[in-house]
């Protein structure tokens, strides 16, 4: 059943940032609460919306502005294209010189855009005011000749990327009802330095930063819901230990229990996390404080219990258990203690990752010697395979809006971080780095 979803156009939200970066609503369109149909939300990536992002215009005709117009518009276009929702029109296919046309509703001949197939248009105008770059950015529906968003931002040139991210969030908010993932980061593992260390990057793989320098085996990054804390495991002091790092103060606390410490996972909206500890015996999942102190044990069965992932409401965990003889995914309701088996197909299903909307669980499944990523609807228990015949594909992690999945793959030989849509389309490499990369974990949106 193909169900068309009408998306409420929400124009009520706009950013007022701190510091120098300020966004203002240029025009308050009269179409608040109008209902606009843009995406078929049963699979919004099936038909991408054709969008045109002509090179921005220099409003003050000054050399600094001229130097910004192309890289700025390219950057914004690349960010929106990354979402997978849009098909960006090649600028060579435009039928007119977009630079001679205006950037506001009244000065645009929308027919120039509809004839080349653009359904959405973004225009930008830049003006230097002292040391500040003022950006006027607008999104239009070309067929309706309507302004959907108009924003004016003021900030330093170095903050250009942040401005572009904010506008992209506005674009997705008005078109999909959610601001997307532009303020998120990914944590991942890379051995490019000769040791496995934790790194972070922005949603699109840009601005890679090394977080740990343990010169050991450091792995299993996990973000807290605020994005302030990152937990991971390291062998830097002998047997593997979970370390919780406060990214603001850079202070570290360690979990101090005997036996392995594996796969930390934060409880949504709380300063608590789960981890698999063996305490010298059976591997079970425990609930710990954000500083690594024991609260209680959550699972109790002989055999491995590992890989906990919390439901977004914090009421359930999905986890891997060997209680049936082979690793399978189970769901446990924390309050009632009720455990339900989720996966029945295949005999090696691990790495569950609960979607931000709560209805899906992504996981990896091994069959015929290959690991692939699947998504299962927890109500219908209907597994859908997203990767096929391209090496091992592991460690799925949802973007904060649930539209994308990051994962690691060996399709190029070496293990790399890739991103795809939640439907398995648009699979692409996130970044190029020395060594191999593993285990991506997508952060929530972290306001700058």
């Amino acid at each position: 059943m193909l169900k068309r979803v009408w998306i409420r156009n929400m124009m009520r939200r706009f950013f007022i940032g701190g510091g120098l970066l300020v966004g203002l609503l240029i025009v308050a369109p009269h179409m608040v609460n109008a209902e606009i149909k843009y995406f078929d939300l049963t699979n919004p990536f099936l038909r991408k919306i054709p969008m045109a992002v002509p090179v921005f215009q220099s409003l003050g005709r000054n050399p600094t502005e001229m130097g910004q117009v192309t890289p700025y518009s390219d950057e914004l276009m690349a960010m929106l294209e990354f979402s997978g929702y849009f098909k960006m029109l090649d600028r060579g296919s435009y039928l007119h010189d977009a630079q001679t046309s205006g950037i506001t509703q009244n000065s645009i001949n929308f027919q120039n855009w509809t004839t080349v197939g653009a359904e959405l248009l973004i225009t930008g105008g830049l003006r230097m005011e002292g040391e500040q770059l003022v950006s006027e950015l607008r999104l239009f529906d070309t067929f309706k000749s309507k302004l959907l968003i108009g924003k004016r931002y003021r900030g330093r040139i170095e903050d250009r990327r942040e401005v572009a991210k904010r506008f992209c969030s506005e674009v997705l908010l008005v078109l999909t009802g959610q601001p997307g993932f532009f303020d998120s980061q990914l944590a991942f593992v890379s051995n490019g330095s000769g040791h496995k260390e934790i790194y972070t990057c922005e949603f699109d793989g840009k601005n890679v930063r090394q977080v740990t320098k343990k010169r050991s085996i450091t792995s299993f990054p996990a973000w807290s819901s605020t994005g302030r804390h990152l937990a991971y495991t390291s062998f830097d002091r002998g047997p593997v230990q979970i370390i919780i790092k406060d990214l603001k103060t850079m202070g570290e606390s360690r979990v101090r229990y005997k036996g392995v410490q594996i796969a930390p996972a934060w409880v949504p909206n709380r300063f608590q996390l789960t981890a698999t500890l063996s305490r010298g015996g059976d591997q079970e999942i425990y609930l710990l404080t954000g500083k690594g102190k024991m609260i209680k044990r959550l699972t109790n069965s002989r055999g491995i219990d590992v890989d906990a992932s919390w439901s977004p409401d914090g009421k359930k965990i999905a986890f891997v258990s060997k209680r049936s003889g082979r690793p399978q995914i189970y769901i446990k309701a924390i309050e009632t203690g009720r455990v339900q088996r989720l996966t029945f197909e295949g005999n090696y299903n691990t790495q569950p990752c609960w979607s931000p909307k709560g209805n899906l669980i992504a996981y990896s499944s091994m069959a015929q010697g290959e690991i692939n990523i699947f998504v299962m609807d927890i109500e219908r228990n209907d597994p859908i395979q997203l990767t096929f015949n391209q090496g091992d594909n592991e460690a799925p992690s949802w973007s904060p809006d649930g539209s994308l999945i990051a994962f690691s793959t060996t399709r190029e030989g070496k293990s790399r971080i890739y991103v795809m849509t939640a439907y398995g389309t648009d699979q692409r490499r996130l970044m190029t780095m020395p060594g191999e990369q593993f285990h991506p974990r997508w952060s929530p949106n972290i306001p700058q």
Partner: protein, 185 residues
């Protein structure tokens, strides 16, 4: 197969001991010849010196051989891993044989402490393999404890799939990597 190693070790100690006398005599002659003719007239004293030297030399050789045998036994203890089936921490018969020998060695070398490392092949996923590696190491430890080793002498560590010995992408390589390794502390 592996029992042969112990026979070889035994021979390494026994055979040199049997050859002891002959090698000793030869050395004595050699030592005598190496001295100047004038000094040979010194007679008994020289002979005694030579015999003493030879005895010391023989003792040194014997000690060396024993040391070598000890080293070999020690090396056998640390070089011989036990192996597992895929997604399993059960001890196969061959692993049990090897563990029995290791228990014998540990009982003979009273008070030694060891670390058992549990490892997995690259297939499977990282967290699960970290847990599986620990179960492999713990299974080996439990077996040794059953044979009379004090649990306080054994610590375990899991490396999951992080430290393969063979980087190959085939069953032969994976079989080598699914192992427990033994280190003397």
């Amino acid at each position: 197969m592996r029992k042969n190693i112990w026979m070889v070790l035994a021979l390494l100690i026994v055979v040199p001991a049997m050859l002891f006398a002959t090698s000793c005599a030869k050395k004595a002659v050699d030592t005598g010849e190496s001295t100047t003719p004038a000094e040979t007239t010194a007679g008994d004293t020289m002979d005694q010196d030579a015999a003493e030297k030879a005895r010391l030399e023989a003792e040194r050789i014997k000690a060396e051989e024993e040391e070598r045998a000890r080293e070999a036994a020690r090396a056998a203890f640390t070089n011989e891993d036990i192996h597992f089936e895929f997604d399993s921490a059960s001890l196969m018969p061959m692993a049990q044989d090897i563990l029995s020998k290791k228990a014998g060695y540990m009982l003979a070398m009273s008070g030694m402490s060891i670390t058992i490392e549990g490892h997995c092949d690259e297939r499977g996923t990282d967290a699960y393999n970290m847990a599986l590696g620990e179960r492999r190491a713990e299974a080996a430890k439990a077996f040794l404890v059953n044979l009379g080793i004090n649990p306080s002498q054994i610590s375990t560590i899991s490396y999951g799939e992080e430290r393969p010995v063979d980087m190959g992408k085939n069953e032969a390589a994976w079989a080598k990597n699914r192992r427990a390794h033994f280190d003397i502390n």
